[in-house]
Amino acid sequence: MSEQAAAVSLAGVSKTFAKGQVRALEDIDLGIRPGEFVSLIGPSGCGKSTLLRVIGDLVGASGGQVTVNGKSAARARADHDYGIVFQDAVLYDWRTVAKNVALPLELAGWSRRRRGERVREMLELVELSGFGDHHPWQLSGGMQQRVAIARALAFSPALLLMDEPFGALDEMTRERLNIELLRIWEASESTVVFVTHSIAEAVFLSTRVVVMSPRPGRIAAVVEVDLPQPRTNETREEPRFFELVTEVRERLRATEPAAGLLA
């Protein structure tokens, strides 16, 4: 993989908080190819959300190189090269669904007509056509999260950053939205970096699962997920799916300190 072709490239990235007292990330090397779906998984405190924020230039790295689409992370942010989705939809109560999706376009100075067209396409993509005039509080949690995804995709960014986007939803809704997300991923041909603490979710969605260990956050293992595309509900019942889930689980367990240390 050449440096130029990488969607995201991290070289020796570290992040410290509280004047160096807390080492959140240390020595992170990771290359993500365009079109990949990469999950970051690990116990809480392993810095997976911090790593996502470093890629998005929401927090600066303390050391190392972060390259997004061949540019510096700051440049990529300024160029709207990525869209981000958080655990909560973070929709603005005072805006309708359509105006929430239009917000990034509005900030970028798109004309009203172009905005309207794009918003219609995006709502269609997440199957929320007809809900444009509703206010966020009139929608269920799952629908709100789909609005957030539509908003993140408004610029058709090459990169989609997702921080436990389905963590607050019930299991049924989460599984439905997983399928939905894969469909959107295929349709938009984007690269996804997905933070989760669900092993099954990581395996089901990803082409690669990055297992992280805590204090300081490091990459402990990378598991290639060779399940066939497109993935369906049947994928979750295949033996290979269980094998991979088991592999990721064992890798995660290996990151835990010895039992004696916990006592």
Binding site: L58, A78, H80, Y82, I84, D93, W94, L107, E127
Partner: protein
Amino acid sequence: MAHPEPAAALRGAVFADRRQTWPGALGRAGVTLLVLAALWGLWEAYRWVGVRTQLTWPFPVDDVTMPHIHTILQALFEPSRVNGPLLISVLLDSAWFTAKEALLGFALGATFGFALGILLAHSRLLQRGFLPYIVASQTVPILAIAPMVVVWLKSGWLSVAVIAAYLTFFPVTINTLRGLLSADPRALELMRSYAASPWAVLWKLRVPAALPYIFSALRVSATASVVGAIIGELPSSIQDGLGGAILNFAQYYSIQPANLWATNLVAAALGIVFFLAVVLAEKLVVRRAPENVA
């Protein structure tokens, strides 16, 4: 994912809610009237007992200290002086005059308060430097400030409005500041991910997020501006407003106590009108989840 007609179902639910609010509004009005009747009853009951038992503590009860409510209302529809206009028309003129002063004061105070809140929200240092003095400004009695304002700006409309503004700005500043700082940290991260300018963050996120806070301050300020205007009229020796009317009727209280009470009723009504105007504006401007509406 298939959603069998969810939009229609949802719309139905929204309308159902709206339908339910009508009896709700009637019910609220009913309670308000009931409380009014109860207060009236209490006043008259206390009066009746006080007169019967010749109560002397805390004050002797008679027609001067506690006129009948109906006497007060009657006074409104009698000439204020021989061959003069009805008291109510005199008081409504005064109220209109005071309302104009209060409205200007409210607008000045709210604008200044909002601008100051925005300024303070941008710097911890400014907050630390300015807030103690802003708080101190409110501990100085308005009666001590008013004469100075009159000396500076000459007696008249403008000085009264400035005095009203002095009482208005404080809650607006404090709540604007609180509201601007209340924006969801993730919403701020989202704005950062869009590389939004500070100006865009202020107007697209912080100010809309602050609106409920600002409006609850405006409700307080609306009534404060009426009080400020009435008090401001006193050192300005302005005769045309409610302040002048109160001063005037206070002098003749022992002869015509009902007139002062009637003036107070009109002043209170003016305060309520200001308050309701803000509530109405809030309903029109602030779109929030039902549970978030104070």
